[in-house]
């Protein structure tokens, strides 16, 4: 931030700019910075570390897009958003891109005027309870007090689930994951409900993980993905194909370590097109030839990002499951680069 802006030249030049809505890509390039709405308190998906640098599975998408568009994964400004503020921030233009465990739903896509450009994590809503409660199924939660995060699909799913099973419950609304954990651990709610990945992450960080169980019911489909505003198709394409480039890279064995070598040596025409060794594919989106190469180099392919942030070697220890490549029985499937 320049202090000249601070001291009164606010909105000065832009007053002239008139009303023509500039494309997001042009804005990002002009600003030389990608503004990315992220989570601040979900370990593994998005949270600042002790020195304030954002890390996580979702954050890696922001870095990849910044690398593809601006050539530098560090040129991202992370805007902390809560479940309640995230869509407002995106809709009003405060952020260019929202990667914050957001579920792709019909009304969000149509009525709220957003575009979900892909699914970077297939999830479902579950419940976690303390073992001492003696509950083995979500259907035994009649009359229970349940912690839910506001502003998410989970509160709607929860209402639907209890309605469908003709049960009652007391909702305790909470602002973020950290608060939810505190309330749950303190016993202020009997069950904590959120995406199953989030529950696993919470359970993994508890000192007495064995004392907590995740109930077998998964009560919803939660396809989580990056979101952009509706109407700017080129920008949506860039985010979508940056994400698919990461997925495709895993499929073709391109990693952050070997991306430069493979780019030079590969004979696979699809990989050549992906890495910009053939054709003019970058220009079709208004980017240069090497966009995908940089995106992959930023924090690795999809598999690497998964393994580094939430995979089985991390404290969160999530299995790939549905999020494995289609070749390995999962749902991750990148359309062809052609």
């Amino acid at each position: 931030m320049k202090k000249s802006v601070f001291l009164g030249t606010v909105a000065a030049t832009t007053l002239v700019a008139g009303v023509a809505a500039a494309a997001t890509l042009d804005d990002v390039k002009a600003r030389d910075q990608l503004i990315c709405g992220v989570n601040v308190g979900l370990t593994g998906f998005g949270a600042p570390d002790a020195s304030g640098n954002y890390q996580g599975f979702d954050v890696a998408i922001c870095k990849a897009v910044a690398a593809a568009v601006l050539g530098d994964p560090a040129k991202v400004k992370y805007v902390p958003t809560t479940g309640e503020t995230r869509f407002t921030a995106l809709a009003s233009g405060e952020v260019d891109l929202l990667v914050r465990n957001s579920t792709w739903t019909y009304s969000r896509d149509t009525d709220l005027k957003f575009d979900f450009v892909g699914v970077n994590y297939y999830d479902g809503q579950g419940f976690m309870v303390k073992k001492a409660l003696g509950v083995s199924s979500a259907k035994e939660l009649e009359g229970a007090t349940i912690c839910i995060q506001t502003g998410t699909t989970t509160e709607l799913n929860l209402a639907d689930f209890f309605k469908a099973n003709n049960m009652s419950y007391t909702p305790v609304t909470i602002q973020d994951d950290a608060e939810g954990q505190r309330q749950y651990i303190a016993g202020a709610c009997d069950a904590y409900t959120t995406d199953a990945s989030g529950l696993a992450a919470v359970r993994a960080t508890l000192p007495d993980a064995a004392e907590h169980v995740i109930l077998p019911e998964i009560i919803s489909k939660e396809p989580l993905g990056p979101v952009v505003r509706h109407g700017d198709n080129n920008w949506g394409d860039i985010v979508r194909w940056t994400f698919y480039a990461l997925v495709a890279a895993e499929e073709y064995g391109i990693t952050s370590a070997n991306v430069n070598d493979i780019g030079a040596t590969t004979q696979n025409p699809e990989v050549k097109r992906l890495l910009g060794a053939e054709g003019e594919y970058g220009a079709m989106m208004g980017l240069d030839q090497e966009w995908a190469k940089r995106a992959i180099a930023a924090s690795g392919n999809y598999g690497e990002i998964f393994a580094a942030n939430i995979g089985e070697s991390t404290p969160i220890a999530l299995a790939r499951g549905l999020n494995a490549l289609w070749t390995q029985g999962g749902l991750m499937y990148a359309p062809p680069f052609r």
Partner: protein, 478 residues
Amino acid sequence: MANQAMPNPSFVRQEMLPPLDPPSSQTGAVKWLRENLFSTWVNAGLTVLALAAIYVVLSHFVPWVLHGVWDASSLGECREKVAASFGPDAVGACFAAIKDRWHQWVFGFYPPELYWRPTLALALVLAALAPVLFTSVPRQMLWLTFVTPFLSVWLLWGGSIWGPVFTMVAFGILGAFVMMFSDRLGGITTSIVAILLVLALFLNPVGIVISIGNAVLSLFGLIPWTPLGFLEPLGNAAGWIFPLVKNMAALFHKIAPIGIQEVASDRFGGFLLSITIGMTAIACSLPMGILLALGRRSDMFLVKTLSVGFIEFVRGVPLITMLFTATLLLQYFLPPGTNFDVILRVIIMVTVFSAAYIAEVIRGGLAALPRGQYEAADALGLNYWQAQRHIIMPQALKISIPGIVSSFIGLFKDTTLVALVGLLDPLQGITKIVRADITWKGLYWEPYLFVGFIFFIFCFGMSRYSMYLERKLKREHR
């Protein structure tokens, strides 16, 4: 019986006996206790109740603080140390967390190697405040007061030095113009020229005329038509010259790129954020509040109506709805593509909010002045602004000091609300981040105690200063 000796009557005491000590119930501690604590049954009951309350609070608080651990690397270690030293059931604070992360509560995520910059800025601000707050400080230091705002902003955010330099020059030109020519040209001409100067220095007058013209001609957006759209190239061309300050700064930066490392607003947090917002808003809300109060007492119907409307609106809605609008919805009200700093937006909102309250306080002060003061000013032939400056305001402000300072204290405390829109204030924002760390998970009271204590020092200091000022002004009045 007859030989019984009579007492010797010849003895007459020559000296006064030393007075006896008063009864023990009428002296020393006992008397004090009786008079101050147990004068009536009601009082005795209250005393017992108060002592019980004090005991309950202290019996929990004192051992907790005394058992506090200052050296540990995690909350678990703290608990172990307390248990090892004072027994398994003992409670003890874990001040080690504060010791470990104090820098984040103070500076947020500001780069550690640059901590000297905000520290220096605060020192400068305090030094600059000295001549304003205490009359005994040499008047020459007022120069520092003029320079400090620009210097502090530069120190905090870094970047090229030319921005602050030219902004300062611009303010200097404006101030000098108003001071030197206001008497010669008269209020109206001065204001017109000053407004033109502001437009040219800080904004793009051509662009503003075009975009406002567009808005008015298209009936405020009711018809999708930009009648002056053909003039936009002109506006863009003017953008090469205007705003003068910004373009001059950019030009000089190209010629002589002098600057320090930039620090983005999202690195700000903790008390650095609170003090930045608080100080700036305090400095800006007073003049704005004075203008609003004058507007509310104006004879001009329209000015009065607008001022009343503004004040009542701002006082009527909660600050967090305004903060929410400023941080998340602003993009709807500005031309597409406009973006400006989130801290600046918060400062503007806090300033506006506080100004409305200060306006009401000052209005009270103005109302308390006898009409004779206004009439005397008129009789002396002073114009409106001269009368305000030399006669009305000095008295009205003096009456309003307690109210103004208490508004300032309120403003400073309200800076904690920025946490609700996602900024890292010390109370919730930073505390949440520290608690999210697995080593300090489960920490509750220590951060609140620490943050509350620092807020108390600032606010208590401000309220004591206001009392000092009241006493001083009262003395001068005699």
